[in-house]
């Protein structure tokens, strides 16, 4: 096959893209990049994310269909590629549905994290001293926990019992 047969057709093993198409697609991609930056500047809340995603998807389609030759490739390869997005979507959507459930707990945890650390350190320390009455009181709440200054944190104290790892 000679180099002059450079047209939009199957050339040997696979489809060959013409220079015109390559540059045309590239120009469209650049234009869309400019467009998406411009729309972001308009502050079109709450549609900004949707618009940005639509533009990104159009760009992705241009790359996949032309630069990656999917339009001219065996349909099965395209199907395989699509499948990855389907499964990624299953993963993301199912996980998203659920995680909101823990957010109040997490917010509380990140706020009280230092206090909890100190509480834990105190218990470990008291346990080392053998004051089980105090610990029992802390756990059931009959002794109020005074954080800050109740002894120093016992860093590196041995980790609980054998069941500690059994989550």
């Amino acid at each position: 096959m000679s180099a002059t047969a450079a047209h939009d057709d199957h050339h040997g093993l696979a489809h060959t893209m013409s220079p015109k198409m390559l540059i045309g697609i590239w120009a469209a991609l650049i234009a869309l990049t400019g467009f998406t930056v411009w729309t972001a500047g308009l502050h079109l809340h709450p549609f900004d994310l949707v618009i940005a995603m639509i533009i990104a998807t159009v760009k992705a389609l241009l790359v996949a269909l032309f630069f990656m030759h999917l339009l001219y490739d065996r349909p099965f390869n395209g199907l395989v590629f699509m499948l990855s997005f389907v499964f990624a979507a299953i993963f993301v959507v199912f996980s998203m549905f659920d995680t909101g459930n823990n957010q109040t707990l997490i917010a509380a945890r990140s706020e009280v994290a230092p206090v909890v650390e100190e509480w834990r350190a105190t218990i470990v320390e008291e346990a080392a001293e053998g004051d089980m009455e105090y610990i029992r009181g802390l756990v059931d709440g009959s002794i109020p926990f005074e954080h800050e200054g109740h002894g120093e944190a016992a860093e590196g104290a041995p980790e609980g019992d054998g069941a500690a790892a059994g989550h």
Binding site: D98, T99, N101, I106, A113, G162, A163, A164, A165, G166
Partner: protein, 580 residues
């Protein structure tokens, strides 16, 4: 050149290769460590996997026995090692047992070892599509295993094989090394999946459509789909965990606004489908064995084939059933619980089809069949007890008890490992060219079956009584069942020792294996045992119905099955009923 002969695809036009003599096979065509370790021959790679898996299995099994021994009496029986308390030693042991058995043994067992050996031959090919990638994936396996050994030697691991945060980000054991090992093993698994998928797609011989493939290949295909779609998510999860631990990213750390339950979503999105990476190849092996040793065409070919794909796909929608008690929302738990039951359907379809295949068949009770029947029983128990755990409200009670331990051992060991041993016995003559001794093989299998049930059935009772898993010690009322269970572990060990001795002995004193000792009609039985370097000496037989067992008849003189040419009457009958 011998490889050109395969292009013809029929026996008549093939030309005998000029160089290879019948005595030359893939085992003796070249010698030396390097000719193995850097080989591109899928058969040798399969054997190297087999050896590596056996070594890992012995290591994981050692830990299991140590755990069961410690649990024989209440109270702590392990010594403290260094600064580690006996309880900490126990934690490390069950973690390494789990991690080694899952990542180094069960996941690669059937696909990487047996699959590598058999798959290209079943397709009548010289090799898999990407031989270098295949070798690379074995090397990754070795590197991953080295990381695990480093974990073992360098301070252990006590997170459980699931690496749950926040414990895994705060414990002082070798989490990062172990996680990198699992990450690398994940890529080994992915590359095997890509290789098999492409090989099955692009290298089927003439006359073998998707629905003429042996069911083993359907199982391998379904497995490859999961390996390709699920394992990358494990990769990114472990990478996030490693970086979280070393740099403090906070994505899973609630103190920085991260979500530890999210880690469980990430982990189980892979690890639930991974359960099917473990069981689908087992089912694939069983489909071959049941048909051949019932001397009967497989029943419900299409249903078995499609149910493999169905299991692979359904498996992606049920991961939340591992998280019913983790803080997952009730709504999601309900949805996951409901979908979980759908997976039972394709699994049951397989069971019914195997049983119907055996119905009115001439069942030949040789070792592979004994393992296969053991599989059906054990997998049945494992599958049915899974329903208790998939039901949300009963799971809240059973979660993290010995009931779960018993359930997944019935599925993973009773399922996958039984199928693996069945497959090893089935293809042993093909792989080694030697026949094993039948009687000890069957005894070994039955002793192992007995030991397994004595080991794990009491654990259902323990779980029901409320014995939590992963505890180094227990209350006196659990003593009886723990002791029975430990005795079972040693019976299982005896069974496996008989198996190992039986297989090793065959290498030195086994009778030379004929090309087709079982009368199977898949293509690997059409070549010599062991196969030549390029798999087929003279010609690739034409692929037809892989379960057309009537074309082979037992020949007492050679102690093997020989090919029976089709008569005119057969051909006429076939033309009248184009069944498959």
């Amino acid at each position: 050149m011998s490889s050109t002969t395969q292009t013809t695809g029929t026996a008549t036009t093939a030309v005998a290769p000029q160089q290879s003599s019948p005595s030359e096979n893939y085992l003796n065509c070249s010698k030396g460590f390097l000719s193995w370790f850097f080989t591109l021959d899928h058969k040798r790679i399969g054997i190297m996997y087999l050896c590596a898996i056996f070594v890992s299995f012995a290591l994981g099994g050692f830990f299991a026995l140590a755990l069961r021994t410690e649990l024989f009496f209440p109270g702590m029986d392990f010594p403290a090692i260094g600064s580690r308390s006996p309880e900490a030693v126990y934690n490390q042991m069950f973690t390494l047992h789990g991690a080694i058995m899952v990542f180094l043994v069960i996941i690669p067992s059937i696909p990487a070892a047996l699959g590598n050996f058999v798959l290209p031959i079943m397709l009548g090919q010289v090799d898999v599509a990407f031989p270098r990638l295949n070798l690379f994936s074995f090397h990754l396996y070795v590197i991953g295993a080295i990381f695990f050994v480093a974990t073992l030697l360098g301070g252990g691991l006590d997170t459980g094989w699931t690496f749950y945060t926040p414990y895994s980000t705060s414990t002082d054991t070798m989490v990062i090394t172990a996680v990198m090992g699992a990450f690398i093993l994940g890529f080994s698994s992915i590359f095997t999946g890509i290789n098999f998928m492409v090989t099955i797609h692009k290298m089927r011989p003439p006359g073998m459509g998707f629905f003429n493939m042996p069911l083993f290949l359907w199982g391998m295909y379904a497995t490859a789909v999961i390996q390709v779609l699920a394992t990358p998510v494990l990769g990114i999860t472990l990478l996030m965990l490693a970086i979280e631990r070393s740099v403090g990213l906070g994505i899973f750390d609630p103190a920085l606004g991260g979500d530890p339950v999210l880690f469980q979503h990430f982990f189980w999105f892979y690890s639930h489908p991974a359960v099917y990476i473990m069981i689908l190849p087992g089912m694939a092996v069983i489909s071959e064995i049941i048909s051949v040793f019932s001397r009967k065409h497989i029943f419900g070919y299409k249903f078995i084939a499609i149910s493999s794909i169905a299991i692979a796909l359904f498996g992606f929608f049920v991961w939340g059933h591992h998280m019913f008690t983790s803080g997952q929302s009730t709504a999601m738990s309900t949805i996951f619980s409901a979908i979980t039951f759908s997976v039972a359907v394709p699994s049951a379809i397989k069971m019914f089809n195997w049983m119907t295949t055996m119905y009115k068949g001439e069942i030949v009770l040789k070792a592979p069949m004994v393992w296969a029947l053991g599989f059906m029983w054990l997998f049945g128990i494992g599958g049915l007890t899974g329903l208790f755990l998939g039901t949300m409200n009963t799971d809240v009670y059973y979660h993290d008890t010995y009931f779960v331990v018993a359930h997944f051992h019935y599925v993973m060991v009773g399922g996958t490992l039984w199928a693996f041993f069945g497959g090893i016995y089935y293809w042993w003559p093909k792989i080694t060219g030697k026949m094993y001794d039948e009687k000890p093989a069957i005894i070994g299998s039955l002793v192992a079956l007995l030991g397994f049930n004595v080991l794990f059935f009491p654990q259902f009772f323990l779980g029901n009584m409320g014995m939590p898993r992963r505890y180094a010690d227990y209350l006196p009322e659990f003593t009886l069942w723990h002791q029975v269970s430990t005795i079972g572990a040693y019976i299982l060990l005896v069974g496996l020792v008989i198996v190992a001795w039986n297989l090793l002995k065959s290498l030195t004193s086994g009778r030379k294996a004929p090309a087709n000792p079982w009368g199977g009609n898949t293509l690997e039985w059409h070549t010599s045992s062991p196969p030549p370097h390029y798999n087929f000496e003279n010609s690739i037989p034409t692929a037809d119905d892989p379960y057309d067992l009537d074309r082979w008849a037992w020949d007492p003189e050679t102690q093997s099955y020989v090919h029976v040419p089709l008569t005119e009457a057969d051909l006429a009958a076939r033309a009248a009923h184009p069944a498959h």
